[in-house]
Symmetry: C2
């Protein structure tokens, strides 16, 4: 029974599980009692823990229960396999090591046979997990669809950050896409920023131990505020919660007293309660849901003509056009005093008018402040021009708006403009070549004319984003690692605040649009070490004076959905030790027919230069 239902949210996190701690052969009873306690799945030990191949040579492995007890649908939807806890592949004892290897492989093979969806690997006993990783890696090479999750405590071990344990393991396994992590949550929690790292990891499950709970005044289990917000964050990132009654005596105590109710019910109910208290998804979140962590190629609006559907989506973004309308109004009021309002006519040119939303915003702004306007609507896409000409007729704008079917870079304007309005920005600001277009258009802007936007700045920051990294890697070629993607970053952990990269001002005297920026990011020592899979890119644009528009997280315009962030991947993820600096270099390069970025990291380690000469990714002029 799901924990609850949130409109539009079909994430796996609404299913909760229950860890079966003790080995049992009555697996039917184990499942049915857990289901009746409200859980959706059980984490089931696969083998009798007494079994050691070296002592039980020739024996059929004593797997718990039988594959015939459940149907394969039941196995796959209700059971997660748990490998033997005693497995230790990096100890000094040769016999124990070879026993461990054999049992690990037999259990994973058996789990595959059962068609369970996932298996939990025990937490390694020592830090150096090379041999453990080797055995799992061998299995991963030929694994069917099963997920394998390594358990690690979220709380730091003495002197050792558990993330480091996970990092060594998964690096040895080369970030295999079927290798995930399950975090054991007990009473103590690391700092918030150290927890946040995990969001960008392939975090599949959280094993919530009863020891993590406090007891409230009425004797019921409850979680601390910090634990509550952790669980809430996990729910919001599709992580499944699994309850584990590590204090087993409680269990015995309860049943001894003839109380047949599974004590985990109380914990499960508490968790369900937390789930039901989740904030409902906003309209924007519901819209974005299907795009989360989904890589898209950026638009090439100069080389390609946008389709009606694309215009339709963007035109729905009311917030964006409200901001433009505010900016245009403010510019008009600055440009024409109240006294001149009835006599003076402002020449406003919308360059890249599309199907007309900025023309409408301009006319509305003029109406609001009672200024006279002559509008030129310049658009290069002949298909959009058709719609726009119809719009002008329908709205009766024939006397106000002149339609120009032309590329702004080559238009021979009949007069100079007071105000140039454009919306040519990409997720990274200049990446759809707004600078080159507006440099071409400023020929017909009066010397003291105004460009809206008047400037824009790109921002960039390092992120952990293992899902994106694996998606890029799955293309199995270099060029996808040297391409920027438009993506709604969700299961991605920002590791430092984004910093400004390139700024473009309009109009400008300097039309050299090549840029180079060196950025140094400080990683908070609180975070611990982390892995950088790439960089999230954003922009902020000044439309006019204090009216801005943007997606840079700290200043993002609310309720605007026209832009997702952009993601620049790294060919090899870069490990940044706790408290270290990350040095990034970013270039904007320009050639006669194209513009492209190159990027590289030089600290803490050196990456190769990405995308030399725009060999993999470029935007056509």
């Amino acid at each position: 029974m799901p924990l609850g239902q949130r409109a539009g949210d079909n994430s796996e996190s609404r299913y909760a599980g229950c860890e079966i701690l003790r080995h049992t052969d009555d697996i039917e009873e184990a499942l049915s009692s857990s289901l009746s306690a409200g859980f959706d799945f059980i984490v089931l030990p696969l083998t009798n823990p007494e079994y050691r191949p070296s002592k039980n040579a020739g024996l059929v492995p004593p797997f718990c229960g039988s594959d015939l007890v459940f149907s394969s649908t039941q196995w796959s939807s209700h059971v997660v396999g748990k490998l033997s806890d005693w497995i230790d592949l990096d100890g000094d004892d040769d016999v124990a090591r070879l026993d461990s290897e054999l049992v690990l492989k037999k259990e994973l093979s058996w789990a595959g046979h059962l068609s369970v969806q996932a298996c939990l690997l025990p937490t390694p006993k020592v830090f150096g997990c090379a041999n453990y990783a080797r055995c799992v890696n061998q299995v991963l090479q030929g694994l069917g669809n099963m997920q394998v999750c390594k358990r690690d405590p979220i709380s730091n071990r003495l002197l050792n950050d558990s993330w480091e344990w996970w990092h060594m393991f998964r690096t040895l396994c080369e970030y295999h896409s079927q290798l995930g992590v399950a975090l054991d949550i007990t009473a103590s929690l690391p700092p918030a920023s150290a927890i946040k790292r995990w969001i960008g990891e392939p975090l599949k499950a959280a094993i919530l131990h009863t020891s993590a709970f406090l007891t409230n005044k009425r004797g019921y289990p409850c979680l601390s505020k910090r634990h509550q917000s952790l669980i809430t964050m996990l729910f919001n990132h599709s992580v499944q919660v699994c309850c584990s009654c590590s204090l087993c005596f409680t269990f015995d105590h309860w049943t001894d007293n003839g109380n047949s109710q599974d004590p985990l019910i109380l914990y499960r109910d508490y968790v369900a309660n937390l789930y039901r208290k989740l904030d409902p998804l906003t309209t924007q979140e519901q819209f974005e849901l299907g795009y989360r962590d989904f890589l898209q190629a950026p638009l090439q609006p100069l080389m390609d003509n946008l389709e009606a559907q694309t215009y339709e989506t963007f035109e729905k973004d009311a917030t964006k056009y409200d901001q433009y309308q505010n900016a245009i109004r403010a510019a008009l009021v600055d440009r024409v005093s109240d006294a001149e309002a009835s006599t003076k006519t402002i020449v406003l040119m919308v360059v890249g008018a599309g199907r007309g939303p900025l023309v409408r915003a301009s006319l509305k702004a003029a109406e609001e402040c009672g200024r006279n306007l002559r509008v030129y609507a310049v658009e290069k896409n002949p298909n959009a021009v058709v719609t726009l000409s119809r719009l002008i007729k329908i709205e009766g704008w024939e006397d106000l708006v002149e339609l120009v079917s032309c590329d702004m870079r080559h238009w021979d304007a009949p007069e100079q403009a007071d105000i140039l309005v454009s919306e040519l920005l990409g997720s990274f600001g200049d990446n759809e070549l707004s600078p080159e277009c507006l440099d071409g258009a400023q020929r017909f802007l009066k010397k003291d004319g105004i460009s809206i936007p008047s400037s824009y700045t790109s921002y960039i920051g390092p992120v952990t984003a293992s899902k994106l990294y694996n998606d890029v890697k799955s293309y199995n070629d270099l060029s996808h690692f040297e391409t920027a993607y438009v993506v709604k970053l969700h299961n991605a952990a920002p590791l430092a605040a984004p910093q400004p990269v390139f700024t473009f001002v309009h109009p400008t005297d300097n039309t050299d649009n090549r840029r180079y920026k060196r950025l140094v990011f400080n990683f908070s020592p609180d975070t611990g070490s982390a892995l950088v899979h790439g960089f999230g890119g954003y922009f902020d644009a000044v439309l006019y004076k204090d009216i801005h528009l943007g997606i840079e997280p700290s200043t993002a315009t609310p309720n605007m959905f026209s832009w997702f962030s952009i993601f620049f991947p790294l060919r090899t993820p870069i490990y940044v030790p706790a408290g270290a600096l990350l040095e990034l270099h970013f270039w904007r390069c320009v050639a006669p027919t194209k513009v492209w970025y190159e990027w590289s990291v030089t600290s803490p380690t050196v990456s190769p230069l990405h995308n030399p000469n725009g060999r993999s990714y470029w935007v056509g002029l």
Copy 2:
């Protein structure tokens, strides 16, 4: 005119050059005077150093001389291009940076037009060379056959190891195979181990400054002992020397006095003298010359039958058979006292007899010590058996030697052996499956019988070997990075002493031939930081008691050429900071039909596991 001639050695290092320091348009004079001073090539500035595109807009770049002065053969054999020294791509001045980029690209393009074989890039002005590397990297993507060498001083800069400068640059350029390094040698030299690192780098030239020289009693230039041994080492590793008169006033002084002789002649003569004092190549070195740094797939002697040519080569290795003969004789004397010598007959089985060299060695040993022998010569290759049966007839060994055409693992022996003699060792000891073969053969060895060899151990050590790395990389697939190669390591720098990996003893009670070893290498802080491209593998075998045979460098058997070392590459080279530890894991894995190695580094950074399940490289059983 070459510096000298060494029999069999046709390396480039016998040609020396001369750096032209001052810009000149009379390039014909510059070349002819250098040739007449005995040099083979000149390093020529390509452009007037006053030229700045920002100040000389529209100007045809003032390249020195003209492409018509020399024929293209002259350009390619006698001229190395030198880029403008003032180029600074990582300074704060935007104008200087863009000027530098333009001139760098124009000069490299011009050098390509001239078809010179190589160009020297100036030493960067600051450590952070990201933008410099980006520009060079862009050019490298489309470069013809030209080599590009970055100049770096061999002496450490204040607080900064010049190797680090080089390392950042070439990593940004992704170890491009056309990017090399040229070291400026002046008076001060770093520690010997820091110098040794460079041998594994793509070191193409050494620019020997006159300031590196001392003056001897007679007023002639000479080098310190340390400088002499450096130059000798460079000669031995195909590095070209280029003299540079950094003390130019000397030059002026000489010519002013009407002395028309180029002062560099004295330096050139000194260098030529050093060249002529090189030790002549030994027979073994001459044999190995053609195999230096040349990757070969290891033999698969179990799956494939060796060819006559291979037998022929190995049979020539007198040292090896002498050692076997000594070992067999010692074993015979131990086994049969002088008193029993005439009555007792020893059963000796040569398993893997090939074309008979070990049969011969056995019979010789018996003759030397006057013991009686009955020899079984077991060989699985039917072609070798043909040769062997002829040999027995020719030598008249019919009464002494019984020929068995059979795989030793499946032979049903008619009696038990006193001594089992084999030569099944690969470069890495067990890598040609000696353990599996001898485990099969020990069925017919008496309980107290002797195996020659009685044990063998593999050794491994980290190396810098950029040439090998680039050769592996040029295959452009994963599997070549997960394969071991037989190779005569020459332009490779060992970074720490090799350590023992796996030992096999024969006969043995334990026929489980799986192995796991964790190795920790200490890098001397004297070395500075270094890059590990992979691991050199060796073996040492105890034939009998104190008689050993092996290629582990510190104990290698002299004058033996049957084995080159083995090279295990890393998919991504690993940077080891000065004084850091390197942790390596090595596994020998066994399945019913094959044996393979897996390997991985876990410190200072973590590599993926190489060759899981033997997916890329294995030896068939």
